[in-house]
Amino acid sequence: MNEDFLEGFDAQTTFNFKIWKKLAVYFKPYYPRIRNSILMMSLVCVIDVAFPILMKFAVDNFISAGDLSMMLPYCAGYLFLVAIQTWTTFYMTKNSMSIEMLLGKDLKRASFVHLQELGLSYYNQNAVGWLLARVMSDTERITSVIAWALTELFWSMAYIVFSLGAMMLMDWRLGAMLALLMPVLVFATSAFRRKLLVANRIERAANARITAAYNEGITGAKTSKTLVIEKDNNEQFKEYANDLYKASFRNTRSNAIFQPLITFATALSISTVLMYGGAKTLFGAMEIGTLSVFISYATATLEPIQWSVRLLANFVSTQASIERFNSLIETEPDIVDTPGVVEKYGDLFEPKKENWEPIKGKIEFRNVTFKYPDGDDIVLENFNLVVPAGKNVAIVGETGAGKSTLANLACRFYEPTEGQVLIDDVDIRERSQLWLHSQLGYVLQDPLLFSGTIEENIRFGKLDATQEEVVAAAKLVYADSVAERQEDGYQTEVGEGGSLLSTGEKQLISLARAVIADPPIIILDEATSSIDTHTEKLIQNAISTVLSERTSLVVAHRLSTIRNADFILVVSAGKIIEQGAHSSLMEQKGAYYSLYKTLEIEDSIEKQLKS
């Protein structure tokens, strides 16, 4: 949260056209609409400038001279302008909204599509919240500036130019006098803006600290109570709250100057008009109607100046959003299928399934050396392993020892730094990612589900599965009990991320999801979290069903899984320290032996406690 707050203040103070140009591809389809908006705005602006002139006509003819003969055409003209203005406002609003939403839709889609292509290392480096903000808020900021601020900026600037022009035409000296006031106002406004930016930054930082303090105060409430430090916490919080108070007040104080400043500048220009124009009128050198037009313009021109400055600042600050959007879009995916592969097998979105070879299930790591793109340590060095079709490999070791590496490589989430990963004796880089992924069964420790029904979540593993297939898959892994316990059965909504189900239930569903397509290869990261005995039993049985007759790589935690594996790899600190079958490793009495023993004793204690 904290970082996000400071992100907006990349100290950009100048308009940079290059940054905007990068988005030209996305803007292009909307150029006609943007052009229309700007044209409409100019029309609105001309009408806005025309109204005081109509007023002058009324003043000169009707009010001063009392001659009402032109009343009818005047009314007709006036109402005509009102009608045009009403229509343009309507059209403009619709048009701008369509630019905002359609362009927004495109930008969101582009970033979403790109996110589907980026590799896991990108996801490891960027938090979900950060990415989500890129897709949702940054795109919205960009589009709202293009759709609304751009036209408003045009209006303000055009209004200033047109009204100045009109004034110059009527009386260039008075027009020039008023024009002189403008740079002063522009300068004052921008000076204050900069000050405001700093005040704003301080306020946000103070605000972020308050949020963090609430977070700590609430999450740590139990601990605070046991240590009786509530009062100290309160004192500390008071300090933070006071800092925020000072910062906020300073911020509003800087902000509070704008409106009065405009009011005052307006008064100055009105007084100038009164003095100079009034004197001219006195000597008959100016019609009284002209004086009234000048008063109208003097009243109305200063607001747009302040607006323009603010809108420009808006444009500048949006550049940060564009840069963040670009940094996402421009990141090259680290795992790409070669053009040849794409041609034969299709890409992520348009697969050519007719050319796909079925997988038998042999996995081979040949001379694999690997280090994570964002890490320095070599995790695997010249690693060789052949897993014949249908065999189980268990990977064991402490948490955080790097057990998932082999699974990551087999899934082609990462590619070996050197060497090859082969499936059915073919380097997996010679096939498309989708070819591989469509034929894998994958079960994660944290069983991530999607909003939707139980059935939809199981069908995720095989999109064209019939309802019978869904039920059969569920039965196979004992997940049918989960559905049956719910009122709506398979149609039960699982909630966001599956939050309405228990952890054990989610695990069962994710197993069903993995087996429904009857994949020849299973990648499984067993869960460690303890769940109730009944579900634990179900899961254990389900896992043995899933693993039988399939090639599998299992990050294993359960004794039964480890014991039954054909081959075991023991990982420590990112390296494989022992490998072999269960019995031979036990005989070695090394790391595996003590690990297994520890697991065994914990398991039995757990069982005893639960029985």
């Binding site: 007023m55 009324a58 009707f62 009010i63 006036y78 009608a83 203005q85 009403t86 619709k94 909204m97 939403m101 359609l102 839709k105 979403f112 599509v113 989500l132 308050i210 609430y214 700590e216 105060g217 609430i218 999450t219 740590g220 139990k222 601990t223 240590l227 009786v228 100290d232 919080f237 709250a241 925020l244 108070y245 509070a256 409106q259 009065p260 009011t263 005052f264 100055l268 009105i270 009164l274 003095m275 009034g278 009128t281 006195l282 009284i288 009234s292 697969p351 990612q433 591989l436 992924h437 991530l448 909003s451 995720f460 593993g461 966001e496 303890s530 004793i601 204690i605 005893q608 406690l609």
Partner: protein, 610 residues
Amino acid sequence: MGKQNHKRIPALKFILSHSSGQKRWFFLAVLLQFISVSANVLRPHIIRLALDYGIAGKELDVWDPIKPAMLRLLEPLEPIGKLAAFAVAAVVVSMLSSASTFCYRLSISWGTEQFARNLREKLFSHIQSLPFKWHSENQTGDIIQRCTSDMNVLRSFSANQMLDLTRTILMVATTLLSMLAMNIRLTLVTLFFLPIIGGYSAVFHKLIGNRFQSAEEAEGELTVVVQENLTAVRVVRAFGRERQELDKFDEKNNTYADLWLKLGSVFGVLWGLGDMVTALLVFFTVVAGSYLAAGGSLTLGEFMVFISYIHTLAWPVRAMGRTLTEVTKAGVASFRLNEILSHPPEDMREGMEKPGLDVDIRFEDVSFSYGEKEALSNLSFTIPKGKVFGILGPTGSGKSTITYLLNGLYDLEIGKGNIYFGDYEIRQISREHLRRNVGLVLQEPFLFSRSIKDNISIAKPGAQLDEIRDAAGIASIDGSINSFAKGYETLVGERGVTLSGGQKQRVAIARTILLGSPILVFDDSLSAVDLETDKKIRLAIAERAKGTTVILISHRINTLMGSDLVMTLENGKISDIGTHYELKEREGLYKRIYDLQADYSDQGGSQANE
């Protein structure tokens, strides 16, 4: 994200009831508002006088009581002088208006920010004082959202909309009065249009409201799709479901955009109509004004005043609809905050007894339940003072509940038994005193995002580094701390080093040991520490804190072995109680687990028996 609670209470009342010293700032703001509104109403009249009296040479038409004074001032002047006088007057009135607007902003933001600061403090300290039960029943995210977002809604309401209403009323009233004083007939045009503009604005917001909500819900659904996709990126990749995800995304993205596009048309119609109504008001005023002027009952100056008034009136009246929306939002926010504040805080039993607690602790027929589920039933046992008392039991057997009761995190219900510290009933003891003396180390302790040093000394501010090191030594964490580059100054938490579970537990132990409480409770707080270190810590405590009553909850027999007395707990009931030597001989939970442990040791496990 789903359906939110839309109950509300009046925001104005809520804000006023939580601003003690700030009311005067709000009052001052209203006063300043009055000045600036008056100045704004006055300003067009100066132009009127300049036009009618200064230029057209008509009679000076002002309020009778000030007329003689003004005439005395203006009559001797040349026409140019008169104009100059009006020009200066316009600037002066403007300065008055600017200055009062500025001061108005200052005083309202002063009041608002003080109110916000006080309410934030109140919320924080109130949340700290709420019973643990409340904390376990409410979600952190929701509470934080209330304290930040709802707080900001209220703050913005207080700074922007709260006094909009008074401003609008003041302005409409003074302007209309001024209009009526000049020309009743021309005022009728405005009087006819004002309710139309106001009513249209209200209808507008009612019309938009529902559509707006469905658009927001659509945005919520779109966000969920993206968020789930990003969170479950491994699953999406592993199953090759990018295409399907994209289709799902497209569907939500299109729905969202379509809703807004439709809203765009509605906005277009309504904004267009709004512009039209205002323009028509000006138009009718111009036409009617022309006829009146032609008939001689309206001067040019007066006409200009009318036009200028209409421009200033139209905006706030049109903004009323928006103000009403904000009032509603602020009302909801007030309700949500009030829900927190109105929950009664924990009774700290201040002023109650503060006896020495190096005494026997006696449970007498204690039962406890969380809602329906009974966690403890009819427990009676004694923890002798100065002894180590072990508790063994499966998850959910009620072990932690015992520690929560001892520490006063939960209260015993009347009639559900009693806990005695020596001769004192637990209900007679000041809660703060109780917690200071019962040092509880939780299984999953929370460390604050400060330095390790500050974390250890958090409950004993001002502790010397020697003491802190000493406590860290007992908790066997001294070595690890010294291995960090910044040693005791190392920051932990989000912005610092991530400690392992075992390291966290040991820091928490050090922090409790530093307190020197006569009773120490370890709620499975050595679970993430290896057996060797576990033993070292226990020995160090036994040696250094002689006479301390230690209550030790653990799954590990090795840990429990050294206890003077061990109690086994199953399903909230005591299944056995005795010394290690007694229990390992008796059939039961303890023996079963002891045997397993012994098997393991026989097979060459390196854990030594004590």
